[in-house]
């Protein structure tokens, strides 16, 4: 039986209420922590649990919190990232529609651990429903005494508000999101200083993915060892919200132990491929990952194992392609997305991505040359010199197309057309 932790109150037709969340043990961790634990103890438990950031980078959450210095100035800010715009990813949307109070409790606990008094839930405009749900439930939490001054009679006060985005992929990047909240153009900033030192309004700011934070109440209630035991692999911990989309029978968001095999996610949980479709490849963690080599179809889906297979877990959003889907066309689509969404601030991203896109487009349209391939590789290398991780991520599908599916590229070039189009 697959353990349900994050989705334990998920219902097919409605959102869990505060009462239902409480009945499942919700807000117990907060009550206990405020009475018995110091912020430092909370940080240590989360470090011990091995909770890694679920936004894609996999940075240990407890260590991020610890990087806020003891003597760091006040006020300190906390940001819950619900901006998810990584193609193929919709776990935050599902989570906000399943159990919003789990997100709120997780955020309050994180805020307590870094002594933050003000938090923002950053929501993309496509998720206006999620923004409204969160605003409504924040009011419910406030009335129940979980937010505001002297939470549950303690000395800890914390205010949490929803911040709406205007809709741009780069806002998912931590430092860009900080600029966005301050009402500036959302360009990434370079560290140092890190955001935990100087973030919002030059004050210490901790930014976590929503999925990272929903784990925190469970870790504090059940302990670090319990959390580790949830995962299928030794190096990982907890469960993961895997989103499966593309050519599968049952696209959806599935909560499974971290380290569940990719083949199991696709076949058992997403129902396998559509009738008449055969698995060709997938992007295992959203658009900024590598097209999977078929030999890694059984890969364990956690940060370490995907890294060993030369790939990335990313957001854990599995996008499945079948034998009838053209990967050059798919790469062109992804590049169109990245070119449009680039903030345009730094040169490698602004200049290299359109260049790469045009070469890929010429290959797709039958105007490609073999000479393009070394140019594509060289230009993709340059993107690693850019300001933030956007541009290297954008070229991951390109390099993996060339490395893992060279025959498909050569066919386009030699036949002077897309072999998938009649």
């Amino acid at each position: 039986m697959v353990p349900k932790v994050l989705f334990q109150n998920r219902k097919p037709d409605r959102i869990a209420t505060l009462e239902e969340y409480r009945q499942s043990g919700g807000y117990q961790a907060l009550a206990t922590v405020l009475q018995k634990y110091s912020p430092k103890e909370v940080q240590q438990i989360v470090v011990d649990s091995g909770l890694q950031g679920r936004g894609g980078a996999g940075f240990p959450a407890g260590l991020k919190w610890k990087s806020v210095a003891d003597d760091a100035p006040f006020p300190r800010y906390l940001i819950t990232n619900i901006d998810e715009m990584e193609p193929g990813t919709f776990k935050d949307r599902v989570m906000t529609h399943a159990d919003p109070h789990m997100i709120i409790e997780g955020t309050i606990l994180a805020a307590y651990s870094v002594s933050s008094e003000k938090g923002f839930i950053f929501v993309r405009p496509s998720y206006e429903n999620s923004a409204r749900i969160m605003e409504r439930e924040l009011n419910v939490a406030r009335e129940a005494g979980y937010l505001g001054k002297n939470i549950l009679g303690s000395n800890f006060s914390f205010e949490l508000v929803v911040h709406r985005s205007g809709g741009r992929y780069i806002c998912g990047e931590g430092t860009a999101q900080i600029n966005a909240i301050m009402g500036k153009r959302a360009h990434p900033q370079q560290s140092p200083p890190r955001s935990t030192e100087k973030g919002l309004w030059e004050k210490p700011t901790v930014l976590n993915n929503m999925e990272t934070l929903v784990n925190v109440p469970h870790i504090l209630r059940n302990g670090a060892e319990w959390f580790k035991s949830l995962a299928k692999t030794k190096t990982a911990s907890g469960t993961k919200l895997y989103c499966v989309s593309g050519k599968v029978k049952h696209p959806g968001c599935y909560e499974l132990p971290m380290g569940t095999r990719l083949s199991e996610i696709i076949e058992e949980h997403a129902g396998g491929l559509l009738p008449g479709s055969d698995f060709k490849t997938c992007l295992p963690g959203g658009a900024s990952t590598y097209f999977l080599q078929k030999k890694h179809y059984d890969m364990e889906m956690d940060y370490e194992s995907t890294k060993k297979a030369g790939n990335r877990l990313g957001t854990g959003a599995v996008i499945v392609f079948d034998q009838k889907t053209c990967l050059v066309g798919a790469t062109l689509n992804l590049l169109d997305f990245f070119v449009r969404e680039s903030c345009g601030f730094c040169t490698p991203c602004r200049e290299a991505l359109p260049f790469i896109r045009d070469l890929i487009r010429r290959i797709e349209e039958g105007d490609g040359k073999e000479d393009f391939i070394p140019i594509l590789r060289r230009m993709s290398q340059h993107t690693w010199k850019s300001y933030c991780a956007f541009s290297p991520g954008a070229t991951m599908p390109v390099t993996s197309l060339l490395d893992n599916f060279p025959e498909e590229v050569h066919e386009h070039i030699s036949q002077k057309k897309c072999p998938y189009k009649g």
Binding site: G166, S245, A317
Partner: protein
Amino acid sequence: MDHSYFEHLNLFRISIFEFRIYLKMLPEALFNTLRAQIARAESPREMAIDVMFALQNHYGCLSDEALEEGARLLRMTPLELEEIATFYDFIYREPVGRYVIHLCDGVVCWMNGYSSVLDYLFKKLGIGLGETTKDGLFTILPTACIGYCDLSPAVLVNGRPYGPLTPEKIDELLERFKGEVRRSRVV
């Protein structure tokens, strides 16, 4: 009347241009709501997106006049606000139709029939991406993955998601929207 409403307007000194904007000002209730929101924020600029959304909802799009009005509320220059406005997909600096169709062109929708949905919408409405129908009802805008990959191919219409789209479903949706408009005119 709330006097602070006028305090930044020295009536003897404002230009004709400013006075014109003043006359087109937002309804007082909305103006006060926005001002209260701005007062609660850590800094006025933090509310830039919310203010632009509110103005856009009120006027139909973020016109030059609306942008200047927003900038004044936020204590920014119009240029500073423009810098943010043009950065985002969901801020409309030009007039849009009553129903704004954000057509998802993410990779999942792409592989699940985005181009046939696009062609069908173009044919049905007689417009292309970024254009508005002559009756002012529909605008189609290209949009990055909207996060409804489990309902792909999907669209957002005025913020609401619909999918998986088929020609029949598109017909049904367009009829439903036109019906809404007819009913609102009768009332």
